[in-house]
Amino acid sequence: MNITLKVWRQKNQNAKGALETYKVSDVSPDMSFLEMFDVLNERLVTEDIEPIAFDHDCREGICGTCSMYINGRPHGPLEGVTTCQLHMRSFKDGDTIVVEPWRASAFPVIKDLVVDRTAFDRIIASGGFVSVNTGNAQDANNLPIGKDQADKAFAAAACIGCGACVAACKNASAMLFVSAKVSQLALLPQGEPEREKRALNMVAQMDAEGFGACTNTGACAAECPKEISLDNIARLNREFLSASVANPEV
């Protein structure tokens, strides 16, 4: 296969970026999308061109590091698949593919396709946990949790924190990310004592980081590589509302 890539190149956060065109030939359909970038980068080195910087690590779809915006869609054309698990058999010979970084003011570009997502860490630090110190736990089976409830919590906990939801949203809202963590812990008895505080603090931090408001378009859930459900946003809204009513001073 022969592929034409138009890739966003940007030297650093303050530099102006632009799309550059690269032709890649002899692409195998069994290659992953990132392996095509590896091949291209090796060639660029021989041509004295600095390789394209992109984020990637586990290449198994679980670490949440990879983050390309491919032909206008976060993680590319397939549903429920991260960029690193996308393979070239999903494209055709002669295709032109446009690759850009996540676009959101809360995710500034570091270089080329690499963005800064530490805002997500600060949101978790504001309340995405159960306050239990090491050594304080009771026996694990002393707290029975119904299977349906546990499964729902697990489905929400499967979020990989990649930021595709933000990239997909026209408002660059982080509601799906925040709601996944709030839901996981709200669904479990362990999360109960801090339930209200958690929803209020995490939403406040999300706003402080400059993420946009949610207007319920559902683009986030449609593009989420882990298919995190919109139900979580509904749950977050309930959690936030009841917490706000219970804590009018906040």
Binding site: S32, S126, L143
Partner: protein, 662 residues
């Protein structure tokens, strides 16, 4: 060079009482002093995140570092199948002693008894802690935790969260870490890479780290330094490790005096997706948990042309069930890997390259799950298609994400056709030598998790890596570090303009400048690939004297070429993944040599270390307990020059036997 004397510092007393007694007698640090003691934690996987969070909760001042953009992305996240714990929730005869015994035996009698027993003792606490944090483990309808089996055991002691247990455990530890970051008890440095240990008066007193975004070198002081930086499987280029996983932190520590334990002990995991071509950048694991329900086979005929589903039962060779009837498909990983290699080498492999075997779910999907569901639903005499449909739903729940991943990578649907799998490098049992306190031979320098050599001997059992990482971080280091820091309370924070910091930073800068100034023709990636090929062919699943001797020479030559013909694009003043990679490959090029030297020196076969010269008639590994029942701990002198120290392994509580899974 002053010769190091190994002292494992194992407490006196009966094995089951050592840890309890130790905990009650280890010196403590009072809360006021803890506030003045600073600890550096490098790496934020299960070991690092759990250690950083726990130590900060106790009151120490902690600085944590990771090269990823977030601590949540450390490669522990990719662990799939589960975590062991001796809870005996299934009432199937499990106990602390049994977990201890299985781990020592699984490791082919090359691990230290006292450490492994402690691991088994705290295993249950880990599950309690994780559940308290909100980790959503798999549960039964009654609300109780579920378990499944892993290789090398005959009980069900593995706790899991679908096929993404590592993710859920790491996110639990990460949330605990973020809670401490939010409180200001931990300062987090992401996208930072540790490039050197700073020693003052022989003690570890800090690190030099590079800010990977700005390129700046930074000096950080700590009363103690914890390396929790994972394994070095990427020395093979192709492995199941993440692309960024590297040996740099422990290798720098090694060159500063931390001896390296059993460097050649590498785990080759039997069930990975096979290589598809030269472009291959990494390999993907298919969890060992699949061997609960998947049966491994190859055709009985060498020139079999039929598709897998068209090959009748009588023409299939379920070679693990045939060779190891007692454990069947759940033999330990080293044995399953070698058996797959043996069949493929003999010409019975399947797939385009003939370097794969089938992992087939049909039988259990229909006969175990399909029938059980049909019975539950009261369907009498269900037809085959109904059984398949019902069984599929259960299999999907147990392994759904793994099946999806397989389909995504190979383009084939494992619900319909058997998976094709082949062994791949997965884990390194070797690592920095540590004593009972997890301290290396450099005072104040600790090593936790996969990065140390300690608990798995020559072969790790499935679902034990997560257990060890969290044991070290949550339940061991919070106690053992007190033994050292309690005597260090009078040491004030050392300013980082101290000459040791200045000098070490200068050396780091010189090395970076050298890498950039070679201006040769070949990329870091190309050297990494070539090193990987040498390692896989000559220090991989089967090793022999000739190959290892050649490999040592080839690695030395490759290293010479690296330092004369390397080309690193970009500069040191900003974000430059090529430079990061070059530094890591340079360290792999030294480590690879030591691994081959160790493998050459160990003239026996044990666990994952298989020397072709030392095998039984049936091809089983032949241990030499008389001459090799020791930990090989290598002290670095200078390039290509190491001194071997031996820690004799003494088994007082376990009867040594040939491992028998038949």
């Amino acid at each position: 060079m002053a010769t190091i004397k190994l002292d494992a510092k194992v407490p006196e007393g009966p094995i089951a009482e050592k840890w309890t007694k130790y905990r009650s007698t280890v010196p403590l640090v009072n809360p006021a002093n803890k506030r003045n003691l600073e600890i550096i934690v490098v790496g934020t996987g299960l070991a690092g995140a759990s250690a950083a969070a726990s130590l900060a909760e106790m009151g120490y001042k902690v600085k944590a570092f990771c090269f990823q953009d977030s601590p949540r992305r450390a490669h522990s996240i990719a662990a799939q199948g589960g975590i062991n714990a001796a809870k005996n929730y299934q009432n199937d005869g499990d106990s602390t002693f049994r977990l201890f015994y299985d781990t020592i035996k699984g490791g082919d009698y090359r691990a230290r008894e006292a450490n492994v027993h402690r691991l088994a003792e705290v295993s249950g606490n880990i599950i309690d802690q994780c559940v308290a944090q909100g980790v959503p483990f798999a549960r039964d309808y009654g609300g109780m935790l579920r378990n499944r089996s892993f290789g090398g055991t005959q009980v069900q002691r593995t706790f899991y969260a679908a096929g993404q247990t590592g993710q859920q455990l790491l996110l639990g530890a990460y949330s605990a870490l973020e809670r401490q970051i939010g409180k200001g008890a931990v300062q987090m440095y992401s996208r930072h890479e540790m490039l050197e240990v700073v020693k003052i008066d022989g003690k570890a007193r800090g690190i030099i780290a590079r800010n990977l975004v700005t390129g700046e070198l930074e000096r950080h002081f700590g009363h103690a330094v914890l390396l929790c930086t994972g394994g070095y499987g990427n020395v093979f280029y192709l492995s199941t490790n993440a692309m960024g996983s590297n040996t740099t932190a422990i290798w720098k520590a090694h060159k500063q005096g931390a001896v390296f334990g059993n460097p050649c002990f590498t785990q080759i995991h039997p069930t990975c997706i096979p290589v598809s071509g030269d472009h291959q950048s990494k390999l993907t694991l298919m969890s060992e948990s699949l061997r609960n329900d998947g049966r491994i086979w190859v055709p009985k005929n060498k020139d079999e042309k039929r598709a897998a589903n068209d090959i009748p039962e009588e023409d299939r060779d379920y070679y693990l069930e045939r060779r190891y009837p007692a454990f069947g498909n759940l033999v330990p990983r080293d044995i399953a890997s070698r058996a797959a290699k043996e069949r493929c080498d003999a010409g019975y492999g399947v797939g385009a390259t003939k370097m794969a075997v089938y992992l087939d779910f049909k039988y259990n999907l229909v006969n175990k799950y399909g029938k059980a569901e049909a019975t539950k639903l009261g369907i009498e005499n269900p037809d085959y298609d109904t059984l398949v449909r019902l069984g599929k739903e259960v299999v999907k729940e147990e392994y759904g994400n793994l099946f999806d991943m397989y389909k995504q990578i190979t383009g084939e649907d494992p619900y319909e056709v058997p998976m094709m799998i082949y062994p791949a490098v997965h884990y390194t049992m070797g690592g920095l030598w540590v004593d009972y306190n997890l301290m290396t031979t450099v005072p104040g320098l600790y090593c936790l998790g996969e990065a140390n050599f300690s608990d798995h001997g020559a072969n790790r059992l499935g679902a034990s890596a997560l257990m060890q990482g969290l044991s070290d971080g949550y339940f061991v280091i919070p106690y053992t570090i007190g033994a050292y820091l309690s005597s260090d309370i009078k040491t004030k924070a050392i300013p980082t303009d101290h000459e040791a910091f200045v000098e070490t930073e200068k050396q780091v800068k010189e090395r970076i400048d050298t890498l950039l100034s070679i201006k040769g023709k070949l990329s870091p990636e190309s050297f990494h690939k070539r090193l990987g090929k040498i390692m896989w062919e000559k220090c991989g699943m089967a090793r022999n004297e000739k190959g290892l001797t050649e490999a040592i020479q080839e690695i030395r030559e490759l290293r010479k070429e690296f330092w004369s013909d390397l080309k690193v694009m970009g500069d040191a003043d900003g974000f430059n993944p090529e430079l990061d990679k070059a530094g890591r490959v340079a360290d792999f090029l030294e480590l690879g040599e030591l691994m081959c030297i160790d493998a050459l020196d160990r003239k026996e076969s044990c666990g994952g270390h298989f020397r072709e010269e030392y095998q039984e008639d049936g091809g089983e590994a032949m241990r030499d307990d008389k001459n090799y029942m020791y930990v090989a701990a290598w002290e670095y002198n200078k390039e290509s020059d190491w001194t071997l120290h031996k820690e004799d392994l003494i088994y007082e509580n376990i009867k040594i036997a040939q491992r028998n899974y038949k």
